[in-house]
Amino acid sequence: MSSHAATIAAAGHIAPGTAGAADAGRLVLLRDLKLAFRRPGQLIQPLAFFAIVTTLFPLAVSPELSRLRAVAPGVLWVAALLASLLALESLFRDDAYDGTLEQYALSGQPLTWLVFAKTATHWLLTGLPLALLAPLAALSLGAPPQSLGAIVICVGVGTVALSLIGSVGAALTLGIRRSGVLLALLTLPLSLPVLIFGARATELAMRGESFVAPLELLGALAVLGVTLAPLAAAAGVRISLE
């Protein structure tokens, strides 16, 4: 299998003698990106899911743009949250099955850092595309065109926090059969602050008001996630390897 060859190559290359921690993180990130782009179908799935969920609302609520505009921030964020969640299940799963995670844990490099690199890949492959897709969905829900740039920024920052929170849930549910629902149960309550501040920032942006305050709070959540979530996720990965 191609992923297997990549595993051995990656594990060999990131040993402390051959690579510093920064190089190891970069190699893990590049390897995950390479593997992901070999299966483009899986990359599209969360985005298609996001597009479908945002399409459901005009059909379920009303096609009137004035009514859709009122619920648009909430719809966008709930859809982004669920799409990000959907992609989380596979964050560590394949690497746990074929032993790559074990190699990482034994490699001598800080596992926290490697887990952070994997989480960063998750954001690059899910959060960033979602942020780029969000304006399209927002436009279809009646957002004024001048607010679209703000929406990209808000979703971009918010999904950083979502990916990090989700990495903890994904690590803790590793090895559990049919972990999807449990992952949602663990991750969604912890994601609520992101949802609240994200939807608020989007709402203010759509009204043409200053959205700096909630955006800063989103940024604070993302920073807090960067500092703490990889530690917890790495602990979760280690526990699953015991």
Partner: protein, 245 residues
């Protein structure tokens, strides 16, 4: 400093015997203080001039809400001790806390809803405190769900301990973000209660009920802890001796 007492807490037979000795104390003290508190709450305390007799539900609602948070903190502290010192008994404490805490949270939500029906005229309000309480219930359910889904007991202990610690970091963040969210969406006419100065005859029963519920939790925890230890150590040689005595 002498750490002997702490090391002894790592021994399941010692903790089992200690729990058995302490349970009646906490149980009886809890029962007595609850009777005293209920007497004060239902008979002594005057009816509220705005809320009438209905306010008396606060004597159950406030202690259960208080306990829901305290149990979560206890659970997270025990989980952290279990993670750091690899103490089996601490994990057993955390495991025993979760269903009790979830029940307190559910009771707080139910009494809050009953309280809301006459006071707000609706069974449910997206009040920040009720919303935070609901999210706390989800956190408990997630913890129990994770613990229940992992077959290996040691892995279940450690994974759910990480989750409890992550949760306790997030509880204040969730609480403040929900409060902030609520201040934007809720009309400011919602009745605020709880904070205004209470006369002593109203406050004293509330404090006694808080104490009674705390003792009740301690007694319940000790009983559950014994069951948990028996279950975990069921193959150990000390069990038959202890059960005979």
């Amino acid at each position: 400093m002498n750490w002997r007492w702490f090391h002894r807490l790592g021994s399941p037979p010692y903790v089992y015997a200690l729990a058995r000795r302490l349970t009646p104390w906490f149980g009886w003290l809890s029962g007595l203080s609850m009777l005293a508190g209920l007497y004060g709450a239902l008979l002594v305390a005057p009816a509220d001039y705005q809320q009438g007799e209905g306010f008396r539900i606060i004597y159950v609602h406030a202690p259960t809400a208080w306990m829901s948070l305290m149990v979560y903190t206890t659970m997270a502290a025990a989980a952290a001790v279990g993670l750091i010192w690899r103490m089996k008994v601490a994990h057993a404490v955390a495991a025993s806390c979760a269903p009790v805490g979830a029940s307190f949270t559910f009771a707080a939500l139910a009494t809050g809803s009953l309280y809301g029906a006459p006071m707000w005229g609706t069974w449910w309000q997206w009040d920040p405190r009720l919303t935070s309480e609901l999210i706390l219930l989800f956190l408990y359910l997630g913890y129990m769900g994770l613990r229940g889904s992992i077959d290996d007991p040691q892995r279940a202990d450690r994974a759910s301990a990480v989750l409890a610690v992550v949760g306790v970091v997030n509880v204040p963040i969730i609480h403040y973000s929900v409060t902030w969210w609520n201040s934007l969406h809720q009309a400011p006419t919602v009745m605020r209660f709880g904070k205004p100065a209470m006369p002593g005859s109203m406050l004293a029963p509330l404090l006694i009920m808080l104490l009674a519920f705390t003792l009740f939790f301690a007694a319940l925890l000790l009983v559950r802890l014994r069951a948990e230890i028996l279950n975990r150590e069921r193959t150990a040689s000390w069990i038959p001796e202890v059960l005979k005595s």
